[in-house]
């Protein structure tokens, strides 16, 4: 795989007459960017704009990949809700992308990916019989099956319990290595662990925030991680005030 491209987004997004945000966002290639900010500030809108999904507003500006190629078809997407299809087995859910494009899925590869996320024993089960953490692992395998250089994660771990969330962060960091990742999160601890770049979004625009000096993925209890998390939390609380 050639180096995953970065993304540049510059412009203004309006909903009716109201400016939601006016920003110049740089997402570096092959790194994890964590996007934080208050609810309703437009984090998900940024993600939807780049994915070319309906946003309910109008965007004036430019969105481009750093390698100059079109972004369409190079991004896979994982949301807070796992969006697994209840009537399909875990294995069939992983390769749904191929079926939706009308191609024959590579079942062997889907099985390999399930093995990587630790769900080999559950390939034939329906999502309803899985725990929340297992369902998100299946959704992660489905994202990996798409094999896109860019991956967007919209709070995918926020509904999980603390232990499962830490496990999922480690798994995602491992399997998504080398890809450009944009993670939307409300959790400063998650950003401090995972981010190569931390971006805080407010009505004034986006602002990069120094991540810990050590390389991601960081230990939860490392001094740098905890210090970064505390500073970030204080900053976010200051914004809220």
């Amino acid at each position: 795989m050639t180096k995953a491209p970065g993304i540049m987004l510059k412009g203004q997004h309006r909903i009716g007459d109201r400016v939601l945000f006016d920003t110049d966002l740089q997402i570096p290639g092959a790194q994890w960017t964590c996007l934080l900010g208050r609810s309703g500030v437009g984090k998900s809108t940024i993600l939807r704009l780049i994915l070319d999904l309906e946003t309910g507003g109008t965007f004036n500006g430019s969105i481009a990949a750093t390698d100059g190629m079109p972004l369409a078809g190079r991004i896979s997407y994982m949301a807070q809700s796992d969006l697994l299809l209840p009537w399909l087995s875990v294995l069939d859910n992983v390769c749904i992308g191929a079926r939706l494009r009308g191609t024959t899925p590579n079942i062997g590869r889907a099985r390999d990916l399930l093995h990587r996320v630790g769900l080999s024993d559950h390939a034939g089960q329906k999502p309803a019989s899985l725990s929340g953490g297992m369902r998100q692992r299946a959704a992660l395998a489905r994202s990996l099956f798409e094999d896109r250089p860019i991956v967007f994660l919209d709070e995918p771990f926020s509904a999980l319990d603390a232990g499962t969330r830490a496990d999922m962060q480690e798994l995602a960091a491992e399997v998504l290595r080398g890809r450009t990742v944009l993670l939307i999160t409300h959790d400063p601890a998650e950003a401090a662990r995972l981010a190569d770049q931390i971006t805080v979004m407010s009505a004034q625009g986006t602002q990069n925030w120094p991540p810990p000096a050590t390389a991601a993925l960081r230990e939860i209890n490392a001094a740098e991680t905890l210090a970064c998390q505390a500073r970030l939390l204080a900053h976010l609380r200051g914004m809220a005030a």
Binding site: A79, L83, P86, W87, L100, R101, A128
Partner: protein
Amino acid sequence: MKLRDTLLALVIGLGLWQVLVVATGAPHFILPSPWRVAQAAYKSRVIIAENAWITAIEVMLGLLIGTVLGVATAIQLAISKTAERLMLPILVFTQAVPVFALAPLLTLWFGYGMGSKIVMAVLIIYFPVTSAFHDGLTRIDAGYRDLSVSMRAGTWHFMRHIQIPQALPSLGTGLRLAAVYAPIGAVIGEWVGASRGLGYLMLLANGRAKIDLMFASLIVLACLTVILHVSVGILANRLTWYAQGMSRS
């Protein structure tokens, strides 16, 4: 519904009927007793069975054709916004015409045979099936749409792999209604003009003052409808379990 409860309800129903017959002292050519109806049913079992078979075929074929047409229409409406804009008002308008009022016309066009009754049953169930399934197809979780856009899904593949399976419980709801309506359509068709079928037999018995035979035909018709209702109910439950990823409820 347990078998024991059903049998109990049946016994109570028959008891009330018998009490009514005794209490009112109605003559048997106005209100025959359950025993008299049972005798008539046994005596005329061949003719009842033959006519019930005809009605059952009409209802089944009507249900089958109506469902196929309804499903195809709903899919077409859900895929094409233009079709939806043009067709939905027409569909709603046609519902303003009572299908019963069309029965003489259908008999004129499709004859005294089974054809006009099947068309009648098709017309009466077409709208509930179309409407329920279309509703299910279009009321889709926005997240699935986002996901399939990011996966670059084709319209038809999205329909086939996500919209249709997700809408199966709604189709089940439409089919439950259709199972109740279809026999009504077939019997009304038989009343307006037929030489066979339970509706025809009821009119015939009525004309010859064989009220016990009329009751027997009516009860057989009710039994047919209940069997259909229960079978379609089982099918509808299976559709729902499938869409929810459950093997058993």
